[in-house]
């Protein structure tokens, strides 16, 4: 078993709980085992998570590869079930209420999808260069994503985009990612500056490139069609922005782009979050001394915006520690993946890294105003049992696979 990964995991969990304790504890709190408070409950969730981790480690490693599709379809059914029996919390129909206990299947869909994808791509006869392989892989990924989107949980659905990194590692052309990023950039630039100016700029750029580089003229068909596609894309941006996206999403994007100042409305969260983090300074205000985070100035303090507590109380140094811990975990997972004998384990490992990376990057970016507000938790930090268990299961299945790597032929 790779102890480094386990230590990194435990460090993040402890750091996370300390932040949660500071964020949700009142100043004269009594016991850390006070289960009426969030930090007390989270302690219970952590205990259960460790129990789950232990169970995964003692189960036979083959269990997960063998039952990968079973898990996947169970999750798919439960996601469909949500559409009929789900509880709506904060606008998203993504909870099963069982007695006092609420479970969020979309959290578990991540590791199930990673398993299924690894199972499929791990087969010898698949090849990313084949259309069929691509089509099946993308279907495996999009199925749960679409169901989650139907629950109105855009943030969790977006997570499935991260699997593109897995596909890339397994041979998907890098151009697809580059083109995807370029289109995303074009989308944002168009929203900010308007279709007309962006279209003019694109044409001007094309003319300039053609004039300067003679070699391009041989491939004029490709370039001309790219320009054409870009222009069509640009012309659709406005419609998409205004009619496909929902108004709260629209406002969040506009706020992030600085097109809209709305410190009391949609921009409130980010504004308060940036103030809390920014006021932390280099070394922070000290543990349990965050006057904004402790006095409820940041909404969703203990869940999606838990990073504010770290930023305010621990400052730049503490934030850097958090970022380095995550980066170390991610790189370690990549390294472990690459040493796997079985394609299944490797691909699953990349799936784990991709999901954790997406959560980590998007959550932090949104708290510091680099990304529109999408409600996804910071792994191991944000309050909530489902999220903590799902990430623990996700990671420990991989740790188990890694521990078992020498037994794979």
């Amino acid at each position: 078993m790779d102890w480094l990964t386990v230590v990194l995991y435990l460090s993040l969990v402890v750091y996370g709980w300390l932040s949660l304790y500071s964020a949700s504890g009142s100043s004269e709190s009594t016991s850390i085992f006070d289960f009426s408070e969030r930090y007390g409950k989270q302690l219970l969730w952590i205990g259960l998570a460790l129990l789950l981790a232990f169970m995964i480690l003692v189960i036979d490693a083959k269990f997960f590869s063998s039952f990968a599709y079973i898990f996947y379809f169970l999750i798919i059914f439960s996601l469909i079930g949500l559409l009929f029996f789900g509880e709506t919390v904060a606008g998203s129909r993504s909870w099963f209420q069982i007695g006092n206990f609420a479970l969020q299947p979309s959290e578990f869909a991540k590791f199930a999808t990673a398993l299924a994808l690894a199972k499929y791509l791990g087969k010898l006869q698949t090849d990313m260069r084949l259309f069929k392989t691509k089509a099946v892989a993308i279907t495996i990924i999009s199925f749960p994503a679409l169901l989650i989107l139907m629950q109105n949980d855009t943030g969790s659905a977006l997570v499935y985009f991260s699997f593109i990194l897995v596909l890339y590692r397994e041979g998907l052309s890098g151009w697809i990612i580059v083109i995807g990023l370029l289109l995303a950039a074009l989308f944002i630039i168009t929203i900010k500056f308007g279709e007309f100016y962006v279209a003019i700029a694109l044409v001007a750029l094309a003319v300039l490139l053609f004039a300067l580089f003679r070699s391009l003229r041989h491939q004029w068909k490709i370039w001309l069609s790219s320009l054409f596609v870009s222009l069509i894309f640009v012309s659709m941006v406005d419609y998409t922005f205004k009619h496909v996206l929902e108004s709260h999403q629209r406002i969040r994007i506009a706020v992030m782009l600085g097109m809209k100042e709305d410190p009391h409305g949609a921009g409130y969260n980010v504004n308060q979050s940036e103030i809390a983090i920014g006021s932390g300074g280099f070394i922070g205000k000290g543990y349990r001394k965050g006057m904004l985070t402790r006095n409820h100035f940041v909404p969703e303090q203990s869940t999606d915006f838990i990073f504010c507590t770290v930023g305010e109380e621990r400052g730049f140094l503490g934030s850097m520690v958090l970022i380095l811990l995550f980066l170390a975990l991610l790189i370690r997972i990549i390294q472990l993946s690459e040493r796997q004998r079985s394609a299944f384990s490797r691909i699953y490992g990349y799936g784990v890294a991709s999901i954790l990376f997406f959560h980590f990057a998007v959550n932090l970016a949104m708290t510091i105003g680099l990304f529109p507000v999408v409600g996804i938790p910071l792994p191991f930090f944000s309050y909530g049992g489902s999220s903590l268990w799902a990430f623990t299961i996700l990671l420990f299945i991989f740790i188990k696979q890694d521990a078992n790597r020498l037994n794979v032929l």
């Binding site: 890339y168 590692r169 940036e274 920014g278 409820h296 100035f297 970022i323 680099l370």
Partner: protein
């Protein structure tokens, strides 16, 4: 199928992860280390400076009766930035204000500052704030601040005590201590002892939560300062005597000043017409203030220290003392009211010739004209002008012509004309004859009632005075009580003072005495009337006195404007005051009734053409 090895792509992916982490770190560095803007915003939204207003010092009279104390009121404060959408109608209904008023006050507060607290509604009583207090959490951005207002259990000495009001632009410019909305002593004792009475404001930096609840002090009160309560003052005023003086002076214009001659402590400081000091407190303050300000009888003016009057015949005592000291007359000098020299000051008396004491008792003008002429023509001096300078110097030694510069508010210096003044007016050519009105205290000479009372004290003290003042003690400062204890000598021969005192006694005892009507067998009094011609109307009625004659405990001056003879109004008022102070109550109820019921203001108006 052949499988290509893509394992090198891990470097691209690791590089991608690292790049994103670096971008996030750079942004964090900008937010947390590079820019200061978020630290400032954080202070703005999560900290509030709460000013702790100390209780203003209380004011007591000489018998430790509480004259001025504080009532708690509550200012409703607003920080516009923290105001969120709320039930404005409910808010207005609970506070009993109109929507228009709400909008107006919010605009005003925003105009001042979004981040700093402004006063939204001033001076609510506990009863006013009761209905809204329990649900303040529904109205983020609003909170109550405790303030104090002055309250006067005895409605006396309004002009002297002065009043407290909000600082104006000029105060704010002049003193950095005050912030808009602070209170400051605007006049009188409140203004003179402002620094001592106000104490020192404290401030606390507190953390608030998003609902604007105070969560406790910031960093264990590292940035807090304690407020220091204002000092309590004990004044020399005698509440009963002051109230009695105001009663006697009701419906009359004028003033009474009573001094304890040995100490210079002012016992009564009446200026009439006056007003109830409670009028200039609270939300009605500016309305009432404007009404008083534009009242033609000038109730805001303190006549006791800023009313200046020619002393008239009361000045004859000083004339006599100077004549005696200069050796140009003796107590036994006889003057008649006959002869050409008497003409310029026509005698109103049938008694002639007379000696000095009777001349004082019966207030015979011709006698003092002749005395004054003798002083001015004194061969000791090279000319009249030098003699005048010597005369003036002696007059000034009685505390006239300049301010005492103690804690008497609104003090005017009065005026004793100078040689230069007459040189200018008469182009250098003048003599005793030219300035003869000075002999009977008329003409350019002006004194204040408090100066006149001090002259009575000097004669009572046989040649010295302690500057008239109010402060007896101040809590927290033991050195202050000695501040006004210095004795000022008025160097005339004791035997001359004896003449003056006997003459003033005869004003009551002699059948020719102008105040003989107020003679009391059981209580020895000494005094001098003055009936001062007045270009604006009827004569000013004046009187100065002290009592008991042998061991004087009170020296007093009374001025009743446009009332007529000194003997008719000022003398009985002085005598009743003396009796009140020394005996507690009067044995002359009819006299008292006549004075109290006399209305000299409104009658006069009727007589005006």
């Amino acid at each position: 199928m052949y499988r290509k090895d893509y394992s090198a792509r891990k470097y691209v992916i690791i590089a991608g992860f690292t790049l994103v982490a670096v971008v996030i770190l750079v942004r964090l560095f900008y937010l947390q280390v590079y820019t200061n803007q978020y630290k400032l915003s954080a202070r703005d939204i999560a900290l509030r400076r709460v000013i702790e207003y100390p209780a203003r010092g209380r004011i007591y009279d000489r018998h430790h009766k509480l004259l001025v104390y504080n009532d708690a009121v509550y200012d409703l404060m607003v920080i516009p930035r923290q105001v969120k959408s709320m039930d404005t109608l409910k808010f207005c209904r609970l506070l009993q204000i109109s929507k228009a008023f709400f909008i107006k006050m919010m605009a005003k507060a925003k105009h001042y500052s979004y981040y700093k607290p402004s006063i939204f509604l001033k001076q609510l009583s506990q009863k006013d704030k009761g209905p809204i207090e329990e649900i303040m959490y529904e109205f983020p951005g609003f909170y109550f601040q405790t303030r104090t207002l002055r309250h006067y259990p005895y409605p006396i000495a309004a002009q002297l005590l002065g009043n407290v009001g909000e600082v104006n632009q000029r105060d704010l410019k002049r003193y950095s201590y005050y912030k808009p909305g602070d209170y400051i002593g605007k006049s009188g004792i409140e203004m003179f002892y402002e620094k001592e009475l106000r104490g020192k404001k404290g401030s606390r930096l507190v953390e608030v939560d998003v609902h604007n609840n105070v969560k406790g002090s910031f960093q264990n009160g590292k940035f807090d300062t304690l407020s220091i309560p204002g000092a309590d003052l004990t004044l020399s005023l005698d509440e009963k005597l002051q109230a009695y003086g105001q009663l006697l002076m009701q419906n009359k214009k004028g003033s009474i000043v009573a001094i304890a001659p040995k100490t210079g402590e002012i016992l009564a400081f009446v200026s009439s017409p006056t007003y109830n000091p409670n009028l200039l407190v609270g939300r009605q303050r500016s309305k009432n203030y404007n009404r008083l300000l534009h009242d033609s009888s000038k109730p805001l003016m303190d006549r006791a220290s800023s009313g200046t009057y020619p002393p008239g015949s009361t000045f004859k005592l000083i004339e006599a003392l100077i004549g005696l000291q200069d050796g140009v007359v003796t107590a036994n000098t006889w003057f008649t009211n006959q002869g050409p020299a008497s003409k310029p000051i026509p005698s109103d008396s049938y008694i002639s010739p007379v000696q000095m004491k009777l001349a004082i008792a019966a207030s015979i003008n011709s006698y003092f004209w002749k005395t004054f002429r003798a002083i001015m023509d004194n061969p000791k001096y090279a000319n009249t002008h030098d003699a005048f300078d010597a005369w003036r110097k002696k007059v000034l030694s009685f505390g006239l012509g300049h301010r005492f510069n103690t804690d008497i508010p609104f003090e005017k210096p009065g005026y004793i004309p100078t040689r230069a003044y007459y040189d200018k007016v008469y182009h250098g050519s003048w003599n005793a004859m030219t300035i003869r009105s000075l002999s009977i205290g008329q003409g350019e000479i002006l004194v204040t009632p408090v100066q006149l009372a001090n002259v009575a004290a000097i004669i009572a003290n046989r040649g010295y005075y302690v500057k008239p003042h109010f402060l007896i003690s101040m809590s927290g400062d033991d050195t202050i009580s000695g501040k006004y204890h210095k004795k000022y000598k008025v160097p005339f021969n004791q035997s001359y003072y004896k003449v003056a005192r006997e003459a003033m006694t005869e004003v009551f005892t002699s059948t020719h005495g102008t105040a003989h009507a107020y003679y009391m067998k059981s209580l020895s009094q000494a005094g001098k009337t003055g009936t001062v011609q007045n270009p604006q109307g009827k004569d000013n009625s004046m009187f100065m006195a002290f009592a008991p004659v042998e061991h004087p405990k009170i020296a007093i001056a009374v001025v009743v404007e446009h009332a007529g003879y000194g003997a008719t109004w000022a003398a009985p008022i002085a005598s009743l005051m003396i009796e009140k102070y020394l005996r507690g109550k009067t044995k002359r109820p009819l006299l008292e009734k006549r004075i109290i019921n006399a209305d000299l203001i409104h009658n006069q108006k009727l007589k005006k053409p």
